[in-house]
Symmetry: C2
Subunit: 309 residues, 2 copies
């Protein structure tokens, strides 16, 4: 078994889309990352996070049932769980944040479970860069691969801390607008090169419905998003992508550029399920056969046979 | 040799981008389509269009030098050539039209040269749908493949005529916003299905820097745009794509879905050159070796080796 440490939020989400709305349901970056990584049978994932006394045991059980270690999820009995609420517009590409209640996240000191401190792969989900840095520092052996996901909020509010943690990682996953904000470059090719210079050897730029780009020096790989009839709820798609990416790499224990292409395809495949239902619903009920069929769809979507001779 | 009939504008363009501006230079949909198709040595292309007495002989010679038949380009001595002027914004994805002077195009009656009326492939570039229909009607044998490119202007101003010509064609190439406008559907998968129902068996949706999608019944193929450091001038990229697509199919004489995938890749490859310089400059100076190298780049950009067993 390959160990994978995941840090990120475990949260309540309330979501409104043109298709309907939810009450508070299970959400959070680490939740989606963990569920995606749980697809890989030879990966032993541990989530490092914090929830309040209001967090239902049944949600924790859902994660345990997926063989995810939850001993690193601190429960602050007198506190309330992080809550996010958002409203998606008709195009499903833009959203308004209606509420962000940090609650127990405000004073979160992550503790990586002792038996996961030698994990080969670390996935730093979207959280304050100081929390991400603390997880890196707790690892007793230098991980083979550290993947970091972040967002514009930390560029606006904790840029210095973010740049420090970016220096320490191998792969960054970031969306196109954030890559532009971080570098001041419109061209994603130029932006990726500037991010390389900040530290990460691999840069993954997520473009939502337009897919994802993987950069490594002068090499580029492009994975489309699967064209879908209907995107029901995009919440968690980026985290699911990151979890599929990191989980695949942990499971194969091969961190070459060629294998990272496959990891991007796996991430895209799992994300295509995530958006089909509200919250984690689809990720909870996804069979190996369905994943396999969709990987085949990705192949026929992208592969061609031009004679190059 | 496979004959390819191309109808579309041959025009003057004046272009302003963040990188600079041009005086009136050679432009027009048929020009870009013809230059792209001229890459295929076994394709004998003929442009059907109209220019004014102000159109320089040297521009016509440039086309002839590329072995493009120009006997179907009518010269109205007392008239002026179609003129378009545009200003691109910083993101290069949006533009303002500064001037559109129809001039000789206002009364254009296309005449397909007699020895091209049995062409197997017809490429109807962006023009009034009645002009496109007239070209179809002049073909003495039913072509194996009719490809149509159009834009929102004709949806706004000649929708009934457009729908009539759409019924008669095999492939439509259209951009994402136009596909949405034509069908009233946001999802491109649903939009493509509705366009199928209007007639074309194959639907190509162009997404600019995000690539292109090819739909045929339930099959989908996705070709990214090559990630470029710098897009210098997007003018003509869509036409170049269409010309590469139609030219490749004419040259291979294979109109299967599998071969259309290759055609989409060729179209994307040629379009990636087009945007590197103002107007037709790059298309005029492009070697077979450069095209071959870029096709290889497309392969490494998109191909992966996941074991599916």
């Amino acid at each position: 078994m390959s160990k994978l440490v995941i840090v990120g939020t475990v949260a309540f989400d309330a979501i409104e889309t043109p298709f309907g709305k939810t009450d508070k349901i299970l959400g959070g970056a680490a939740t989606f990352i963990g569920l995606a990584a749980s697809q890989f049978n030879n990966v032993d994932s541990s989530i490092v996070s914090v929830v309040g006394g209001d967090f239902p045991q049944k949600y924790l059980d859902l994660l345990s049932d997926k063989k995810i270690d939850i001993s690193g999820i601190e429960i602050v009995k007198e506190g309330k769980t992080f809550f996010w609420s958002g409203l998606y517009h008709n195009d499903m590409n833009s959203r308004d944040t209606l509420a962000t209640e940090l609650n127990v996240l405000a004073d979160f000191n992550p503790v990586v479970p002792v038996n996961y401190r030698d994990a080969k792969v670390v996935m730093l989900g979207n959280l304050h860069p100081l929390v991400q840095m603390s997880v890196i520092e707790q690892m007793t052996e230098k991980p083979d691969l550290i993947v970091l996901d972040t967002m514009n909020f930390w560029m606006d509010n904790a840029l210095d801390d973010l740049l420090k943690v970016i220096k320490k990682i191998d792969v960054i996953t970031i969306n196109d607008e954030e890559a532009r904000q971080l570098t001041g470059e419109y061209s994603l090719v130029v932006a990726a090169r500037k991010i390389h210079e900040m530290g990460p050897k691999y840069v993954v730029i997520k473009k939502g419905e337009h897919g994802a780009l993987l950069f490594h020096n002068d090499d580029v790989f492009y994975a489309p998003a699967l064209p879908l009839e209907e995107v029901f709820d995009p919440t968690g798609a980026g985290d699911t992508f990151a979890g599929g990416f990191a989980g695949y790499l942990a499971g194969t224990n091969d961190f070459s550029f060629e294998n990272m292409k496959n990891a991007v395809i796996y991430g895209s495949t799992l994300a295509s399920f995530c958006v089909e239902k509200f919250g984690t619903e689809r990720m909870m009920n996804m069979t190996d056969e369905e994943v396999f069929d969709r990987l085949k769809q990705f192949k026929s979507l992208t592969q061609f046979e031009i004679e190059l001779s």
